[in-house]
Amino acid sequence: MIKSWSWFNKVSLIVGFAFLYVPIILLVIYSFNESRLVTVWAGFSTKWYGQLFQNEGIMNAAMVTLKVAFLSSTLATIFGTMAGFSMVRFGRFRGRTLFNGMIYAPLVMPEVITGLSLLLMFVAISLDRGIWTITLAHTTFAMCYVAVVIQARLNAFDRSIEEAAMDLGCPPLKTFFVITLPIILPGVLSGWLLSFTLSLDDLVIASFTTGPGATTLPMKIYSMVRFGVTPEINAVSTILIGIIATGVLLASVLHKRRESQRKNDELLASAIP
């Protein structure tokens, strides 16, 4: 019998997770620092958070970012679900190779190229740049992530339920909404969450595609970082980390509860003699 979890495994996990989490924890701790110097502890204080909410530039940027993130993640979820569905269900349609290429390429494409090309196109068709162009850009790259998530979910999907519904005379569109969508819903929701955070994080593509007056939060943070490290950036980062961590943990807990409920139901069904 092989010893399954050796001391080497444990040590590498501890060191690895320390590497992943210590920087974030230090950042959060020092957002409550009294002193303006980020690395010298001078007592607990929440004054940087207070200053943050009085900083109009940051509050405006946060509003812009939230608007863009909501719109683009919703659009990306719709288009991404359609794309993922087409990739799994429609077999070989015309132009499938190009379609697959366009889905996978944005996942690894350097952001500078995506941003530059979108901006040049917006200029070429003389579209006024601003919050709308950022939304278009974010929708484009986020929908590819959603498509991949949906694709994975659909691959593990029992098609016979759909076929049963259609055999009983349910039209395809209704079958999708009544049968398919509820089953792939966890994938759809995690796709939405993923595109929301991608949009919330993005600096490079937003910097290229933005216009006058539309500054997103990452752009604001970036310009603040360039002037130096301040506790205010730590405070805004802590809030963002808090929001995202809560969202992700909540989603995973809900998902787990549903899965276990499903398992219980199945168990109940098979427990009948």
Binding site: L20, F93, E111, L116, V225, R258
Partner: protein, 359 residues
């Protein structure tokens, strides 16, 4: 087989027909209702829409033009990607052949009507010539490739033991560990890079710690060097390496290792002979996922690297925003894309093969 749901007023039970006796058996208690709301509401809505005359009219028209739900489902995302992903590239290629000029937009048109009679094509190769003859750009390309390659190897070295430890952890630990790896990936890239500035600064946490335990006498200069860029890339892209490695290591059949041990193979040799080759798909996917975006990285070299750190993403950015030389920036992007097209296509083949195998 032989199982159905029985809905009595108010309560729903799972039922099963016993194949031998033909007796219907029901579950002891009512089964809990689960997410019934959405299918009913959305289903009702859909049937309502399907029944209304404008929809029927539009559907029949669409059907006559050969547009069914199926082709519409493909067409909408397809068109979106063609318009907002493919077309922009063609425009970049076009502008890379244009000449810079001081105007809005700051480039000369590629096609020009001369006297309204014929179209003149102004193909301008100078941008590419400049890229190939100016040492700065060549150096930027080579150093991006080098930095990306070195940090990919470093990420693999850091990520493999973590993924391995996760895959061998007790089953109940695996999901929480996986969540812990994914969580930093969801938090902002910019914030994670920013966190390292505070650590690597001359008066930062790392130097304070090392001075305190007495390893060094004077602070090390790490921020604004290539070492800081390596640390930044390894840190930011670590989840991309761990996830594919973990998924291929976790699928591994443990009886193979037991067989190796039974045949007298020592564990470290069994690792190199069995585990490592079997995790190769994960290694390949992870390396692609780190290497390709790292080549064009902008934020990390800009914030953590120094003035001597040249990476093409940073050069392209400053060429575009500071010098406003759009044609040259486009040419730089085209060359960068050509450099990456081989790994990107390779990666995409690899991915679609894997997804077709249903992995």
């Amino acid at each position: 087989m032989g199982r159905f749901r029985l809905r009595v007023v108010g309560a729903e039970r799972l039922c099963r027909v016993d194949e031998l006796s033909g007796v219907v058996m029901t579950s002891p208690g009512p089964i809990k209702k689960k997410h019934k709301g959405l299918p009913l509401v959305s289903g009702g809505l859909v049937s309502m829409i399907c029944e209304c005359p404008p929809y029927r009219w539009a559907a029949s028209k669409c059907y006559r033009w050969g547009l069914q739900g199926r082709s519409l489902t493909v067409m909408v995302p397809y068109l979106w990607l063609v318009l907002l992903f493919l077309a922009p590239f063609l425009i970049v290629v076009k502008i890379s052949f244009s000449e810079i000029r001081i105007a809005i937009p700051p480039y000369a048109p590629l096609f020009e009507m001369i006297d309204g009679l014929y179209v003149q094509l102004n193909l301008h190769m100078a941008n590419y010539q400049r890229l190939f003859h100016d040492d700065l750009y060549m150096y930027a390309y080579l150093s991006s490739l080098r930095i990306a390659a070195v940090s990919t190897v470093l990420t693999l070295l850091v990520g493999y033991p973590i993924a391995y430890g996760m895959a061998r952890a007790p089953k109940s630990w695996r999901l929480p560990l996986l969540m812990l790896v994914i969580l930093p990936f969801w938090t902002s890239f910019l914030i994670r890079v920013y966190a390292w500035i505070g650590i690597l600064k001359t008066e930062g946490f790392l130097n304070m710690f090392l001075l305190w335990i007495g390893v060094i006498d004077e602070p090390l200069v790490i921020l604004h060097t290539n070492i800081a860029v390596y640390i930044g890339i390894v840190y930011s892209y670590l989840p991309f390496m761990i996830l594919p490695l973990y998924s291929s290591l976790e699928k591994m059949d443990h009886s193979l290792l037991e067989a190796a041990a039974d045949l007298g193979c020592p564990p470290h040799k069994a690792f190199w002979k069995v585990t490592f080759p079997l995790s190769r798909p994960g290694i390949i996917a992870g390396c692609f996922l780190v290497f390709i975006p790292a080549v064009g990285e902008f934020v990390i070299p800009d914030l953590l690297g120094g003035s001597s750190t040249l990476m093409i993403g940073k050069t392209l950015w400053s060429e575009f925003f500071n010098n406003r030389d759009w044609p040259l920036a486009s040419a730089a992007a085209v060359i960068l894309l050509l450099l990456l097209v081989v790994p990107i296509v390779w990666f995409q083949r690899f991915q679609s093969n894997r997804s077709q195998l249903g992995e």
